[in-house]
Point group: C2
Chain length 342, copies 2
């Protein structure tokens, strides 16, 4: 039940999901995942001098894209293993996705979460019926803890990104973007994806390679946590320096996954990084102008466009808003700071 | 240029917009107004035991539906009258709609706004290039001031609701709801519309009467400002009692319009009213669960569903979220109060 993560080149090649698995995931998710809208704001277009299409995964079930991958993965657990349930480790959005998917499918779920995760993420995960085990970020290996619990119970670990079923599920987001852009007669020059471990990017990149091959897919990460960007530049997986700080709590994974990096290395055009100040400005812009609630980690791709980290003038760029689970007080503080600065 | 509002029965009958004028408005607005999404939230459906479809006019150009009516009306001003510009009076959303529409069409705009309107509404209206004239709610007749300015300049008054061109423009919102619901194979039992002077309701009711005649259209107003509800009950236009209080700044019109009431009397099923506390709860729910920013006046229809003012169990109900222009500090205070209460 506790399949190890793949790591050898042969293992990786064998485990990579094919495009057909994204299509299969879309069938499984039909009627359960929200087909989130691809939004367009005249004010945003005017500001950047291009056309920006916003994939609002903030409006997804559980408030982030993570439900897609979690449900796709859990729905494929063999009958004999279902009663023992699932175990996951997550900073909060994968936690909610796994908890909600397991509840829909009738499996018990245990989620290992940082004790300092946003209160909303902890509360929602419990509200979906999962058992939450808090851990201290500094002192505990969450993965080792998950493996220990899974082995003891015979439960299935649902990894947050380095899993073919999870990647294929996230890829349904990219499939929808390609379909929705085509319905608007929009030729996407680029797609910007918020990136932690790289699962959403990998899924979307696989989908775009098949459906919109001329679209350049970029990861966007917080400064200091741009392990995927640096790995893409260097051609091998590198880790973030320890001790970095960012308020993008959803994007603090230390290293790209084996599977996700193999896919992103092949299909992504490159990586971008944004500062926390740029993310805060994007969140304030989202509130004031877009009327959308976006969490820090969900706003990095929008921040990259607003801060000019990619040239948008005359271009058509799709941007994933990957999640909206942010405590109201934290949002209020960001808005208050931005007002002072304005 | 300063056509009086209609008031005699014959005038009203002559001035009522026909359904064809909504279709004509939709053509004028194509590519300029946002075709806002009709959103669905599994969490909200679960909570009410029915299917709720949310028409997110918060995502409209200028952050509210008002752009639709303003643009439709202003675009029909004869060439000879364009240089003298437009004058409007508004608590803030019509102000922004008129200012943005006039800017797109190249007409100067003067807007009379309450001095205590939300800061965001005042700032945005100015940012669209309009001249803003503040007035004191208690001491000045904003309509008399508008007439005086319009006569002096030869400018055209763009009334906030009692105008066939404005009503037809707002009706495009209803047209989209009918089309979008049909695309989802959803049979709408009811449509709930936030109601101030009744322009949005009248436009939507006209559209639904033609496109979805079995849908019951309800106005939703703040308690103490339910002049339309009481007028519908009594069969004639009545006014709100002076001195009432509500934080739904967009919905404080004292009396239904002549045209809007004539339409709503014929086509609306009835009126609902919600308390400020229910509106605050709806705004908190929108932030936490829907990830949408909704202003008080834009949240009354959602509040009616959440508070059980209409039975949603087993029904399919469309709800207009009419605007999202709310100062961050005001929103933060509502969220903080709701957190304390939770």
């Amino acid at each position: 039940m506790t399949s190890s993560p793949v790591s050898t080149p042969d293992d990786i090649a064998t485990a990579l999901p094919a495009f057909a698995e994204i299509e299969a995931a879309a069938k499984r998710l039909h009627g359960l995942a929200v087909r989130t809208p691809l939004l367009e704001s005249p004010a945003l277009n005017d500001r950047v001098g291009g056309r920006v299409l916003l994939k609002a995964e903030t409006l997804q079930r559980t408030g982030s894209f993570k439900f897609r991958g979690a449900y796709n993965r859990i729905s494929q657990i063999p009958d004999a293993a279902r009663a023992a349930g699932v175990v996951a480790f997550s900073s909060g959005n994968h936690a909610q996705g796994v908890a909600a998917a397991a509840a829909l499918l009738g499996l018990p779920a245990t989620i290992i979460m940082p004790a300092d995760a946003p209160a909303m993420k902890l509360a929602n995960t419990r509200a979906y019926g999962a058992e939450v085990i808090p851990y201290e970020r500094s002192s505990t290996s969450r993965e080792a803890l998950a493996v220990e619990i899974a082995e003891r119970r015979g439960a299935t670990i649902v990894r947050p990104f380095d899993d073919a079923g999870v990647i294929a599920g996230q890829g349904t987001c990219g499939l929808e973007i390609a379909d929705q852009a085509a319905a608007l007669d929009a030729q996407l020059d680029a797609l910007l994806v918020c990136c932690g471990g790289g699962g959403l990017t990998a899924g979307c990149a696989l989908a775009m390679a098949e459906r919109s091959p001329n679209t350049a897919v970029y990861t966007v990460e917080p400064e200091g946590f741009d392990d995927t960007r640096r790995s893409l530049v260097g051609g091998e997986r590198v880790s973030n320096t320890e001790g970095g700080k960012s308020f993008c709590d959803a994007l603090l994974s230390p290293t790209p996954g084996h599977l996700t990096f193999a896919i992103n290395q092949r299909h992504a055009a490159g990586g971008l990084a944004v500062s926390d100040a740029e993310v805060a400005e994007a969140m304030a812009y989202a509130y004031r102008t877009l009327k959308l609630v976006i969490e820090p980690g969900g706003a990095v791709a929008l921040a990259a466009v607003l801060a000019g980290r990619i040239e948008a003038r005359g271009k058509t760029i799709a941007v994933v808003l990957s999640g909206g689970n942010v405590d109201p007080q934290a949002y209020a503080e960001i808005l208050a700071r931005e007002s002072d600065a304005a």
